[in-house]
């Protein structure tokens, strides 16, 4: 058991949870304004691909991430346009976005790089790991927190920023108002569509970062459908966390932890099939235990939008 639980487990939990956290926060900000963004997975995949593709051409990881963010945000605008302007059903559109991005990335992989399955290139620059100057020196905490990719730290920062945004700012209160009662918000002169757009575009940015962490942080490669449903687990983290940034942080932490554990278990001769199943089983169990009211109202909106 000793080799199963040790301090570096927390370190790898942080690494595993970062994509879930970022995408989950994207889902949370959408659900706070009444948009049920099922397309998180597709947005992440797009971010992961664009990150690798841009990296292969520019050999600069920062430029690659910038391009991934811009591209994915434009892609998320497509989702926003269909659901907000055209009033298409949010779930159907989200699923369409997911399949579209699988198709686009696979197609692009074959036409641009002429490979099937996965693309890897030695000249690509992966994300560096940052040693945090002061914390690094503290014996225990240093091991736990330091030496992560910048995106991991960014995820934690986003959690804090979003927490204060909703808790303290007037704009955050307007975001909530749009999610609670869009008609009332409109009658008070709030530009409902603009706020919903902003939320979806922000989720695009966050998902791009989440995808980049997958393709440039943990490994430096892109493989077809490499998100493997992580966008959906992020969606569950959103629900489980009641669309609250701290809640999303804790629930994506739980999923990151099970993912980290499942990798450990593989080293202990536990069948891989079983360990791979673990995060998903935990997800289903978690869904039984917690229910999210804000998500339900977003779901109700989405049912209304099918008209």
């Amino acid at each position: 058991m000793e080799s199963l639980f040790d301090l570096s487990l927390i370190n790898s939990t942080l690494r595993m949870m970062a994509p879930l956290l970022l995408a989950g926060l994207g889902g949370a900000i959408c659900s706070r304004v009444g948009v049920f963004n099922v397309g998180l997975d597709g947005l992440m995949l797009m971010g992961a691909f664009l990150g690798v593709a841009a990296n292969a051409y520019t050999h600069n990881v920062w430029l690659a991430i910038l391009i991934a963010v811009i591209g994915t945000t434009i892609f998320s605008a497509l989702y926003a346009y269909m659901t907000i302007n055209l009033q298409a059903n949010m779930i159907v559109t989200g699923i369409a976005i997911n399949f579209l991005s699988i198709g686009i990335t696979t197609f692009a992989l074959r036409t641009i790089f002429d490979v099937q399955g996965a693309y890897y290139n030695n000249e690509m620059q992966g994300l560096p790991t940052w040693e945090i100057p002061v914390i690094d020196q503290i014996p225990l905490l240093g091991n736990l927190l330091s030496g992560q990719s910048p995106i991991v730290y960014l995820g934690i920062l986003c959690t804090i920023v979003m927490y204060f945004f909703f808790k303290k700012s007037v704009a955050g209160s307007h975001f909530d108002a749009v999610g609670i009662n869009p008609i009332a918000a409109k009658s008070q002169g709030i530009k409902v569509k603009r706020i919903q757009y902003q939320a979806v575009l922000i989720s695009g940015v966050l998902c791009a970062l989440a995808g980049a962490q997958l393709s440039l942080g943990q490994v430096t490669m892109f493989s077809e459908n490499m998100t493997a449903g992580r966008g959906f687990i992020a969606l569950v983290a959103t629900m489980l966390g009641q669309s609250n940034p701290i809640g999303v942080f804790l629930s994506s932490g739980l999923f990151g932890f099970t993912e980290a554990i499942s990798i450990r278990l593989q080293g202990l001769n536990v069948p891989t099939n079983f360990t791979l199943m673990l995060p998903y089983v935990i997800t289903i169990l978690a869904m039984f235990i917690f229910k999210d009211k804000t998500q339900l109202s977003a779901l109700k909106n989405s049912a209304g939008s099918s008209r």
Binding site: S169, G172, S173, D176, N181, G189, I190, R307
Partner: protein, 501 residues
Amino acid sequence: MLLELKDITKKYGDFKANDQVSFSLNKQEIHAIVGENGAGKTTLMRMLYGMEKPTSGDIFINGKKQNIDNPNIAIELGIGMVHQHFMLFPPFTIAENVVFHHEPKKGWRYDRKKAADEVAQLAEKFGMKINPLDIAGDAPVGIQQRVEILKVLYQGADVIILDEPTAVLTPLEVKELLVSLRELVKMGKSIILITHKLNEVMEIADRVTVLRDGKVTGTLTTKDTNPEELSRLMVGRELKNNPLPSIEKGNEILSIKNIEMTSKKSGKTLLDDVTLQVRQGEIVGIAGVSGNGQSELIQAITGLAPVNKGSVTLNGADMTNRSVKQIRDQGLSHIPEDRYLWGAAKEANLVDNMMMTDYAKPAFQKAGVLKLKEIRRYVAESVKKFNVKTTSIDTSAQFLSGGNLQKLIAAREIQKNTPFLLAAEPTRGVDIGAMEFIHEQLIEKRNNGDAVLLISSELSEILALSDRVFVMYEGKIVGEFDHQNASEEKLSILMAGGNNE
């Protein structure tokens, strides 16, 4: 003159919702606008509030012609509107709702403390009792309405438009609202009150403008008029006085014996030893302030909630705690008290709403295949007969006004020709013409030898229609009267928990 609308016409295609309507409001005046559903009251006010644009005509404020394109301009001009359906954010506090979109800030931060202080001050200034830190969604309807009024005041409105403010209130809350309105006028505000309750108009308004079919049929000073004249102007004819002809009572159709119901959540007794019968050819009224067990009684009879004790017999068969379908098949039809919650599927169209309980009848289906032609003919006929104002029977129910939806539900349930009809608040929110019609239908049903149980918080309705009246108070039957012996005074005392001895 504070505000003037001159020759306003609003056309939707060929349909004139407002036709050359002129209206004026003086400072510190309460000017009521009355008219039946669909007479164009709300349309007129939506134009004043910038939610619609007039096809022709001008709006003057303080003598200056104004172009009100959107609500923000109306708010800047000092016009505020309290909508019929509240525009609140239930999870927010009362203060947050009031200051919404005009929040006090400290840098980028929302100064919630200042908001609460300002709202408390505002409420005190206008004599409205609220706690700014309460959650709006938990507050009673009367308080929520105060929140709406405060919101308008916070935005600095001098002219307050209230769209059917009393439709959702209990009698006590109505009294409080009228007191608040007087207070507002004293403080220098002017009020436009849209309603179709003439007694309120007579009580509080200085002047009243009557609309019928989009045209003004009269602007009168309340002192020089009376409810009869107003209703004549509204409906365009004398209202009939529906007498209750005495007819032979038949067998007991509904018999409730000693039923009891307790709340699963709190364990509180909701129905306490309730016994009553309804016979053929009889309308039995249940009077009471809402929330004294009427809803639970309805649920017990219709099978929507189980009773702990006692029995419900319908048309000769024991129906205690049976399913809704079994009870309906045994001869129940039911006009529910909340038309949106129990009575209609908002998203569905009029055809589906009308067929909700009838689709399985042999007249409308054969071997599981719906006879669509027959169904559409029947629905179109019913809509015409009950005068439901709609553009088409394919419109979804949510686009009907409340009164018209109520007429649709009444049409569905009354036309079933079941031996027993449970009519709960059958005329809530409908105009006097429709009210007269629904009353006629109920009386006709009774005269045909069916049994009707009428539950209503409108005493006048109970007194006019009931052969016998029961009074409910705190889940108990506290009194029973014949048609001749019932009077408003006697019922009111029992309804308030007193007794007549």
